[in-house]
Amino acid sequence: MNIEVIKPGLLTTWQDLGRPGLAHLGVGRAGAFDAPALRIANALCGNPRDACGLEITLLGPTLRFNAGAWIAVTGAPIAFRVDGVEQPMWAPVPMTAGATLELGAMRSGCRSYLAVRGGFGAAAVLGSRSTDVNAALGPNGGRPLRAGDGLTPGKFTTASPDMPRSTPKWRLDPRPWHCGEPDKSLRLLPGRHFERLTPTSRNALFSEPFVVHVDSNRTGVRLTGPGLEWTSPIELVSEGCLPGLLQLPPSGQPIAFGPECPVSGGYPRIGQIAAVDIPRLAQLRPGDALRFTPWPLGHAVAALCKREHALQKLEAAILKRLQQHAPRA
C-alpha cells in the first residue's frame, strides 16, 4: 500500500463526480457535495476533473505516504501539515516517501477535499468511485475510511503534465470558490407546493433564519427555524428527488437534500436550492444559520452556465501553470 490511513478523521469518504444515470434503478448520484472544490483539487494535481478524491468532514485524517506523491487540499479551511510543517491549501504540494500528512480541524465550513496525483485508485462501483454510505455503495461496500486502510494512487493523468520538482511559489485565491466565512444565504427556486404555504410561512421562509441541525449529513441537511405550515394538508405519492430539493415533512421543519438523497420521496416541496449554491449548502455545519432568498429559474440556469465556464477556464489555467513549472524533457 502506498498510502496508509493512520487516523480516518470524523467522516472521510472516497468521492468523484458521482454515478449519474441510474435513478431509474433506485441508485442516487452521490459524489462530492462541494463538487467545484474537488474539481479544483484534481486540477492542481494534473488529474482529470472526475478523478477520485477524499471528502473530509469537520476533522481530517492522518495519512502516511510510503512513496512520493503530489497532493492538493481545497474546500473548507483546514489545519494542513506535512511532517509537522504547515502547508498551503489551494496549491500543489509534494509528498516525499515516508512523509506524514495531518489534516486537522476546520476553522469554518464543513467539507475539505484531498486530491492525489493520479486519483485514488479504489475499485469503481457502477461506474463511479463515489461513496454512498446510505445506499452502501462505493469502494469497500460504501463505508467511510478506517484506520489501517491502504490507499493506492491511480493512473488517471495520461494527458496531463509532469509535476513540478519542488513546491511552486503560487497558490490559488480560493475566492469565489470558497469564501472565508461560508456565505449564509441560499437562493431558492420556489417549487410546486410553495404557493400552498400559508402567507405567514411564505413570509417567514424568506425573512427568518434557519439553523443547521446536528442530525445532518450527506443525505439531508435538517433545518430548524420558524415552523412552516401548509394552508391545507397535501397528500402525495413518491416522485423523483434531486440534491438541493427543500422538502417539508409533517414536523414543519424543512430538510435540504444532499448528494446521497433518495431518488424519490413523497413529502411536499417548498423549492429547489439553486445548483450554484449547493457548495454553500455543503459548507454549512451544525449550528450555522442561513437565510433563503427567492430566485427565478432563468437566473439560476444563467448562473450555472457562467460558473461552469469560469471553472473550465480555471482548470485550463492551472494546467498551463503546471506545464510552465514542469521540468523540460
Binding site: P20, G21, L22, A23, H24, L25, G26, V27, V125, L126, A135, A136, L137, L189, G191, R192, V237, S238, E239, G240, L242, G244, L245, P262, V263, S264, Q272, A274, A275, L297, G298, A300, V301, A302, L304, C305, E308
Partner: protein
C-alpha cells in the same frame, strides 16, 4: 400522450401523467419512459419513472446557451418524442418494435404483450415472514389463504426507489391491504417480501423498514457487480411462487 411539464431545477424536469397510485397512469409513465429511451435525445442523463411522474435529468448545456430557449426546445422535443407513445398506452401491443432501453436488455420470459414477467420464489411465513399471521388476522383470512392470495396475483413494478433495487409493486389484492407497522423495524433482512398499505415490495438488502414481512426470497434483487445490477426494472410484471424452506435454503446456497 397527455402530460404536463414542470421544471424542477436547472437541469431537471418532471413529466406528470396524472395523480395518485393508478395502474393506467403508471402504464403511461412506462410507455413514455420507453419512448424517450428510444428517442435518444442529446444530453439526457436520467429517465426515472415513478407512480405518476417521470423525472428527466439533462445536461443544461446540451440544449441551449440561450437560457430562455432551453426549456422550450426541450419541451418541444419531448412532445415530438412522445407523440408515437400514444398508440402504446395503456395496453400496448407495439412494445417489441421499440429498441430496448438499458433496463430492458435482460432476456426473460415475455408475455404475449411483450412485457417481461419475472417469477420470484418466496418462502412464506415462519422465520421468513414473521408478520404473516398479523396480515392474515387483519384480512380475516387463514394464513394459507393469505399466501394463496398474495401468490396468485400478477404485479407491476411501478418504480424502483427507497434503496437501490427496491421495487414498489402494484396489484395487491385489496383484502391484503394493511397499514404499516406502528413501530418500524431497525433491521429487515435482505429478500424480505413485505406489505405496506396498498403495496407490496421486496427489501434488496438489510434495511430499516415499517412494512409487514410475510415471506422471503433467496434471489438477489440488487447486486452492483452484476449487469444489469437490478433483478427487476420499472414496468416489469412479477409473479410470486410459494416455496418450502428447504428449497429456500438450496436456492440461497446457490447464491440466489
Amino acid at each position: 400522450m397527455d402530460f404536463s411539464i414542470e421544471p424542477l431545477a436547472e437541469e431537471a424536469l418532471l413529466l406528470r401523467f396524472g395523480e395518485g397510485i393508478d395502474l393506467d397512469v403508471n402504464a403511461r409513465v412506462h410507455a413514455a419512459t420507453r419512448a424517450l429511451r428510444a428517442a435518444t435525445l442529446p444530453g439526457i442523463v436520467d429517465i426515472a419513472p415513478a407512480y405518476a411522474t417521470l423525472l428527466l435529468r439533462f445536461e443544461p448545456f446540451a440544449w441551449s446557451d440561450d437560457v430562455a430557449g432551453s426549456f422550450d426546445r426541450l419541451a418541444t422535443a419531448l412532445h415530438t418524442s412522445l407523440l408515437p407513445a400514444d398508440s402504446e398506452a395503456p395496453d400496448d401491443s407495439s412494445r417489441q418494435r421499440l429498441p430496448p432501453g438499458d433496463d430492458e436488455q435482460r432476456t426473460g420470459p415475455r408475455s404475449s404483450r411483450g412485457v417481461r414477467v419475472i417469477e420470484i420464489p418466496v418462502c412464506y411465513g415462519g422465520e421468513c415472514g414473521p408478520d404473516l399471521d398479523t396480515v392474515a388476522e387483519h384480512a380475516h383470512l387463514a394464513p394459507d389463504e393469505t399466501i394463496a392470495r398474495h401468490a396468485i396475483a400478477e404485479y407491476t413494478v411501478a418504480m424502483l426507489g427507497f434503496a437501490p433495487g427496491f421495487p414498489y409493486l402494484l396489484g395487491l389484492d385489496p383484502a391484503l391491504h394493511v397499514p404499516r407497522r406502528a413501530h418500524p423495524r431497525t433491521r429487515v433482512p435482505a429478500g424480505s417480501v413485505a406489505i405496506g398499505g396498498a403495496q407490496t415490495g421486496i427489501y434488496p438488502r438489510e434495511l430499516p423498514g415499517g412494512w409487514h414481512l410475510i415471506g422471503r426470497t433467496p434471489l438477489a434483487l440488487f447486486d452492483p457487480g452484476r449487469d444489469p445490477p437490478c433483478l427487476l426494472a420499472p414496468g416489469d410484471r412479477v409473479r410470486f411462487r410459494a416455496i418450502a424452506s428447504d428449497e429456500f435454503m438450496q436456492l440461497a446456497e446457490r447464491g440466489g
